[in-house]
Assembly symmetry: C2
Amino acid sequence: MREDLTVRGTRDYYPEVYSRLGHIMDAWRRTALAYGFEEFDGPVIETLDLYRIKSGDEITGQLYHFTDKGGRELALRPELTPTVARMVAKILREAPKPIKWFSIPRCFRYEKPQKGRLREFFQFNVDIIGEEEGLSDVETMGVAIDSLLRLGLKEDDFVVKINNRDFVSVFFRDAGIGEKDERELYKIIDNAPKVPPEVTDERIGDLGIDGKQKQALDEYLGIKNIEDLERMKYSNPGKESLLAVFSHIQAAGFGPYCALDVTVVRGLDYYTGTVYEIFDKGERMRAICGGGRYNHLLREFGGLEVPACGFGMGDVVLGDILEKRGLLPEYEKKVDYFLVRISEDQLPVLLETARTLRKKGHTVEYAYRPTSVKKQMAKASKAGAASALIFGREEMEEKSVRVKDLRSGEEKTLPLADIFAE
Amino acid sequence: MREDLTVRGTRDYYPEVYSRLGHIMDAWRRTALAYGFEEFDGPVIETLDLYRIKSGDEITGQLYHFTDKGGRELALRPELTPTVARMVAKILREAPKPIKWFSIPRCFRYEKPQKGRLREFFQFNVDIIGEEEGLSDVETMGVAIDSLLRLGLKEDDFVVKINNRDFVSVFFRDAGIGEKDERELYKIIDNAPKVPPEVTDERIGDLGIDGKQKQALDEYLGIKNIEDLERMKYSNPGKESLLAVFSHIQAAGFGPYCALDVTVVRGLDYYTGTVYEIFDKGERMRAICGGGRYNHLLREFGGLEVPACGFGMGDVVLGDILEKRGLLPEYEKKVDYFLVRISEDQLPVLLETARTLRKKGHTVEYAYRPTSVKKQMAKASKAGAASALIFGREEMEEKSVRVKDLRSGEEKTLPLADIFAE
């Protein structure tokens, strides 16, 4: 036997694996369609330049990239947002707004494969382009939440943690910190829930900020829920937007799934207002989904300045969570009819019947080689067929067929015409 | 505006493009499922070694390949068969036979983009593994034929040209030619229908064969249909197999779509018995699909020797043909309900209604910003919604809603409960 030639970090989607992936994709697709989103896709291969325009270092360092035989620098897409920006830029002037698009692209990242992270994965992408902050942000969260509920997850299983980048940045600017250390500050805030408070304190100390600024930072990290935010005397447009988003969340019935979390800032450069992440509430609190508003991104791609928001949700972590909770259906091949022939004389009528039933959408199988009725019946059972249709000499003369229900064992003779009418 | 960053030979699948692709994929998928095939997929990235094992030069010269950061030589799959062989080799011993699999992989070839050929494309792959020549070959042809018929093509639009590699090779071996010149001979035969007879004659002359061998070759090229083959006194197992396949084709009702064509030999090294190609009957006679039997391929991938057959059908030529014949449906975004509010007071009940209807699978939209009823109604029309549900103060008090059918213009007031029960 040769060595295993499968590329590390990729998967072989055998039918039972593919069916679980299909179950997840189906929930994503149905939810997005019910919300009025249109499905699209882009190529897997993009120019490397596309990712040079705006992606954070974290992404570009993890690209699969190469030079083709014509000397072009190309990359396998690590995410869909740059493709969305490129495609929307071409049609933005003419297209009716808002543009509501979704996709389930296959993406690639060259990173160390581990539980929840693979080099080839699928990602549910949902975007609204051409709409200001407010209900549209809640609409994208709604697609994420309702798709998780459709997959069987419950209020106890996940939480949407929401924040607003404008609120954070203006708050710190007003407090006199963050202009030059914004990136470093975001890293500290982002890490705060994952490390002991003294580590966060030490990191804040390293920022070299004065006592008053330190106090503002402590006040910020002290905001634990939406009520804390409401009570806060300080205000800026990002805060007001956050409060409006939460009121829409309540109105739409998403309250039980959502929480304000001021440590959510999202690593990527391109987010501007609302940001959110969905976490598994299990012991490991893994991120299932990340999204937010990216109002300046399209301009960078040669398009117009246009408000936009959206999210990405991968299949790998979500698949693990669903599997752990027993929410992925067992794979079962569905066969409606297995056709059995007493002798090869019946083959023509069997083949004709197979084709007629298949055209009507039934799944039909039969033995490809002449074999005994007993063996054909065994094959029918093994295939998990619901019924066997048995073609014998007598039946053929009467244009009828013997029907055996393979679950109940019940048998009857029916005219072929009745079977076709089913 | 920046230069267009789309990679040459790839497509941007805008919703209207994606929907046409989806229409083709849906026909492929439904047909394969009705025939009892199971859907699977493999990774887009494979090791370059996988293609070195067995693919003809034609394929390996057209690969997108590169070395990853870990020094591994990788390639983007140009076709699915090597992946099928690799995956089946892992499970062949345990799996019940025959294995009946289909897939619609995204594939990549680095070749000059032109009408009908792109660098990124989709290909319908159908394979039966673990079954000897005969009905199973006809079964795969049936999937190809019935999927084309489902897409609206007719008997006048396409033809399945069938031959048998064993018949050809043994015929020429028995005639004393072909042992060392087999490859060259296949090229001449394959090209015979595309060039004037004198060119074929000249090429045959260059082979350096004697008069008797030349006569055999002329006799071979003189076989124009299955009746000619039946009448031929010479026989070999490949010929008998071809006759059996044609008798199954007749029995299954595929006769009108199929023809014997001895010039079909298929370029790739791995075909062994039955081979076929489906051609558009239009002026350009483009190949839509190619398939056949490949009984030795799995052994090469470290598996067992196992009989197998299958085909591949790309989306690009087929899409062009369907478009030319007006068989691709017009894209139309489907919206069931557009929800309209008299004032923002009705927003909570509107959002709740939207969510309830969406959960039931209806497509629902509404305006994301406060705007006049007139403008909301205009949006509803523009979205192509079937009905508008209008929420006013009075209606809210009575837990009812005004329903306007946007096609007939008819209006009525209904309890919300009735809408939810729909």
